[in-house]
């Protein structure tokens, strides 16, 4: 067995040193009858056989590489530079543990410090943590953090919030029967949440651009929150948008949570991704998750350590700010490397391309009979309304070898008002030819 290091002779020698006659003697504490069950599973296989099995499964999927592809809704297809995947597969990054021994983990610690800096910069916030599981769990943690800070319980959730985020928040709050108010679904992008904020409100969670693509100025909402002593939590599901649009920090957000997948992390059928979490410096001790900080070693040289860990579960136990134990280390590394390659000029250009292509497609679609583009202002994703149910249209497009978007009914099942709504995302990976194919196919299908 290629991954195991002991030979039969080694095992005999080791048993002799231990002073037992068999390996099963080491399992003597296992209750009678429970040892060595018969398992109905296949025996071991070589690399070739395993590769064949996976290749067969992969072949049953339609790869976005092979067809015009317009899906988004919280996960986006972007080009990842070759250097990213090469670097994250280096042994020293891939096969190291959490940097609890800083003297031999400066590599991980320094990139976490750089990651925290990059996230702070693009969100327009003062500090960021070393990442969470994903955007949705970041949003749930943000609500808990706002409750700790305000000592209030109620959360107001925007009707433009991605339903997976809304449901993840709700699941966690339900555990302790905390109240949350989900505003009505906001397809039009004109909801006014200020009327839902009262003196029991811990926070308002709003997504920008929202799940239907609407891009909104949140400054007045931030003021309304502030007036009532509530915090504004802004969720961003498409992080490349911040290369082009005003960051939440500049609009008055208190906490920014985001899905970082768009930078450096492959789609991978939904995970693992990387949750970003940024806030104001004054709230740092209420922030969940791992944090890396700068210090010096005993020779006075700059170095990095995990810090403020008295907030965390391994020390604080039941009084910790969160139960979270890992971050999304390797995905955070991929994000950091990709962002380093982009730099200021690259990120700005990338965002311009995404937006420009989305505008081009929106204009083409708006010319079609029976089709309307919903948001006036958007980044690289927008909802359109169709003359018939979107789910069926998407299935018809599959037959034409096009992955044509996400029907809103997939995210809002049972909501009749959204049955004809299709979410379309456009990124730098889409060619003009892809767009023309989509428009042509839609003309046939509608």
């Amino acid at each position: 067995m290629r991954y195991l290091g002991l030979t039969e002779a080694d095992r005999r020698d080791m048993l002799e040193t231990i002073g037992v006659s068999s390996i099963d003697a080491l399992f003597k504490d296992v209750p009678a009858g429970a040892l060595n069950p018969r398992l109905d599973l296949p025996p071991h296989q070589g690399e070739l056989e395993v590769e064949r099995a996976f290749a067969a499964m992969a072949k049953k999927n339609v790869s976005p590489m092979d067809v015009p592809f317009f899906l988004g809704a919280g996960a986006y297809r972007h080009h990842i530079p070759a250097a990213v995947d090469h670097l994250i597969q280096r042994s020293e990054f891939l096969t190291s543990y959490t940097p609890y021994q800083p003297e031999i983990s400066q590599g991980t610690l320094q990139y976490l410090f750089e990651f925290q800096t990059q996230v702070s910069m693009i969100t327009g916030m003062e500090v960021a943590n070393a990442s969470m599981y994903d955007g949705a769990t970041s949003a749930a943690e943000a609500v808990l953090m706002a409750q700790r800070i305000t000592k209030r319980s109620k959360a107001v959730l925007s009707g433009g919030l991605h339903p997976h985020y809304r449901d993840t928040v709700a699941t966690l709050m339900d555990q302790t029967d905390q109240p949350h108010v989900a505003a009505p679904v906001d397809l039009a992008g004109n909801e006014d949440l200020s009327t839902l904020i009262d003196d029991q409100t811990a926070c308002v969670v709003v997504q920008n651009p929202n799940v239907f693509g609407h891009l909104r100025d949140l400054t007045s909402l931030a003021k309304a929150c502030q007036a009532k002593g509530a915090l504004l939590v802004v969720a961003v599901t498409e992080i490349t948008s911040l290369g082009l649009i005003t960051p939440p920090g500049a609009m008055g957000a208190d906490i920014v949570v985001a899905e970082g997948q768009s930078i450096g992390v492959p789609l991978s059928f939904g995970g693992p991704y990387v949750g970003l979490f940024a806030t104001r410096e004054k709230y740092v001790r209420q922030m969940p998750g791992r944090l890396c900080g700068e210090t010096v070693d005993q020779e006075g040289r700059r170095g990095f350590v995990l810090t403020l860990s008295a907030r965390e579960q391994h020390i604080r136990r039941e009084k910790a700010t969160s139960n979270i134990c890992t971050n999304s280390g390797l995905c955070a590394l991929a994000f950091t490397i990709h962002m380093s390659l982009l730099g200021e000029a690259g990120l700005t250009r990338l965002a311009e391309i995404n937006h420009g292509k989305a505008v081009q497609l929106a204009e083409k679609l708006a010319e079609m009979k029976g089709v309307a583009v919903v948001p006036q202002a958007f980044y690289n994703e927008f909802a359109i309304t169709l003359p018939k149910p979107a789910a069926g249209v998407v299935e018809k497009l599959v037959e034409k070898k096009i992955l044509g978007g996400v029907p809103a009914s997939r995210l809002f099942p049972g909501d009749k008002s959204l049955e004809n709504v299709l979410l379309i995302a456009v990124t730098e990976t889409n060619t003009e030819g892809d767009m023309d194919k989509l428009v042509a196919a839609l003309k046939e299908v509608l």
Partner: protein, 522 residues
């Protein structure tokens, strides 16, 4: 006050000569600036075409001013991260005996499979007809997990071990609620991982510790005394964090069930029994499985993990959405509309990239190989215990499971602490074992060699520890060596107190090249 004896500022006396080179580099050990200190405007590591010329539709929300990101070329970026990587210890470089973390070999086949076109690049919201292979991966892995644990159901979406704990407790809460039962207390041993009480608190439970017996197992009498109609569940790690199999586990299950409570088993240490013992035969109700421990998905410097949760018949109706089911047109996903489900825990369907890696590992080992994994990991740990019991101080009688627990009695009155001992291992080329955990013994050292190591490798490791223990016990001049360790690393002991008292959590413009306050460190 749980980490007595772990100094957080370097020993004052333990300084040595500085590097003495002009660059600060020491041969292959390169000093490396922060990205933000090397960037220049007008440089980039990507070539992108011009953006389409369109009238923007940003609603007046175009970003004003610069972000501040540095401009770097591709070679600069590659060199930066390669140099950083060289400051890390890794499994690929050496034995990584971090108890409770299962630092086993991470096969590269796993990585290759996770990147196959059609698996690594599919979108989670593609029509299910276009992702039958992806759903098959999830379904097949679920099948292996159920068979290996002897449990009827598994929730696949939790993103990590602690997230799995949360899933288990949420399912328990939902099951209690469904029978109109409100319970407020969770029992957990004092030796539990910190995530157990933290998770219980997130779900609104109070945590009541159960004491251990002198031989490191749950005290059944104390457990009986703590059980009552307000106890929702027990959270018990098996094998436990002292590296011992809870030999009364079936009695524990019976007692807990008799009180109307559920049995949450923390599966962090499943590696010791995989293929060898099915937790389902021991009476548990749910257990999370850290795919990054037992099933070799890479730790990646702290994640991402993946923590599927197996569930008993009494809990399986309450699984989180989404989950995969067999439909008439093949596999499909239930994403909503399940009224018994306790809800959703994260975006999309779980850590697919980790599922692929774990399944590739399982298929490579097969049933026979996985059993061998458990056996060899337990054998190696007992070999370490037997080889060092005369000089270091084992906390409990053997046999142990996949990790051997020592405490600091052998260092008593030497002037060398557990931390010093661990740091001296670094100079010898080893990552230290887990130190100061579990909290139930003084100055804990928890050693998990894993099944990946050859006997030669374990022998060298054992001989090194023996040599260090002899040095510590001999005392005298050696004490200063321990207190000064590590001396051969890219950085020496770091000042954690300074980091926490005035936190610097990001680089800021203007701090570029700021002189480091050397005087304060000395």
């Amino acid at each position: 006050m749980n980490r007595q004896g772990r100094p957080t500022t370097p020993h004052a006396a333990a300084n040595s000569a500085a590097t003495g080179t002009l660059t600060g580099n020491r041969g292959l050990q390169m000093e490396e600036a922060l990205l933000f200190e090397m960037g220049q405007d007008g440089r980039t590591g990507v070539d992108l075409p011009d953006a389409p010329k369109v009238k923007d539709r940003l609603g007046g929300l175009r970003r004003a001013g610069k972000i501040g990101l540095p401009g770097l070329s591709e070679p600069q970026v590659i060199r930066h991260f390669v140099r950083l990587s060289q400051k890390n210890y890794s499994i690929d470089a050496g034995l990584y005996p971090l108890g409770s973390c299962t630092m086993k070999h991470n096969p590269r086949l796993n990585e290759k499979m996770a990147r196959l076109p059609g698996l690594g690049d599919v979108h989670p919201l593609q029509p299910v007809s276009t992702v039958q292979g992806a759903l098959q991966v999830i379904d097949t892995l679920a099948g292996w997990l159920k068979t290996l644990t002897g449990m009827p159901a598994v929730a696949m979406s939790p993103a990590a071990g602690a997230h799995g704990e949360l899933c288990g407790l949420m399912a328990i809460r939902a099951a209690l609620k469904a029978r109109g039962d409100v319970r407020k207390r969770i029992l957990a041993p004092e030796s539990a991982h910190g995530t157990n009480p933290a998770t219980a608190a997130l779900c609104g439970y109070t945590v009541d510790p159960i004491p251990a017996t002198a031989d490191g197992r749950v005290d059944l009498e104390a457990l009986q005394a703590k059980l009552g109609p307000d106890v929702a569940a027990i959270m018990l790690t098996n094998p436990n964090t002292c590296g011992l199999f809870e030999r009364d586990i079936k009695k524990v299950a019976d007692m807990v069930h008799a009180a109307g409570a559920f049995f949450y088993c923390d599966g962090a240490n499943f590696n010791a029994i995989v293929g060898k013992v099915r937790p389902g035969d021991l009476g548990i109700d749910c257990m999370h499985i850290n795919l990054h421990k037992t099933f070799s998905t890479p730790h990646g410097g702290g994640g991402p993990g993946s923590g599927p949760v197996v569930l008993s018949d009494s809990l399986k109706d309450f699984v989180p959405v989404p989950y995969v089911v067999h439909g008439k047109d093949g596999l499909t996903l239930v994403e909503s509309g399940d009224t018994k489900s306790f809800g959703r825990m994260k975006s999309f369907h779980g850590q697919m990239g980790m599922f692929i890696r774990a399944l590739a590992y399982m298929m490579s080992h097969g049933a026979d190989g996985l059993k061998r994994v458990a056996e060899d990991s337990v054998l190696s740990a007992n070999y370490v215990l037997a080889s060092l019991k005369d000089i270091m101080s084992p906390s409990f009688e053997g046999p142990c499971m996949h990790e051997a627990l020592f405490d600091d009695r052998f260092l008593k009155d030497t002037g060398v602490t557990t931390l010093d001992f661990a740091k001296a291992m670094i100079d010898e080329g080893y990552h230290p074992m887990t130190v100061y955990f579990p909290l139930v013994v003084h100055g804990a050292m928890l050693i998990e060699p894993t099944e990946s190591e050859s006997k030669d490798s374990v022998d060298t490791f054992v001989n090194t520890l023996r040599g260090l223990a002899e040095k510590a016990i001999a005392g005298g001049e050696n004490v200063a060596m321990f207190q000064a360790a590590p001396q051969l690393t890219p950085r020496r002991r770091l000042d954690e107190t300074r980091a926490a008292r005035s936190p610097v959590l990001r680089w800021k413009p203007g701090s570029n090249g700021a002189p480091i306050d050397k005087a304060a460190a000395e």
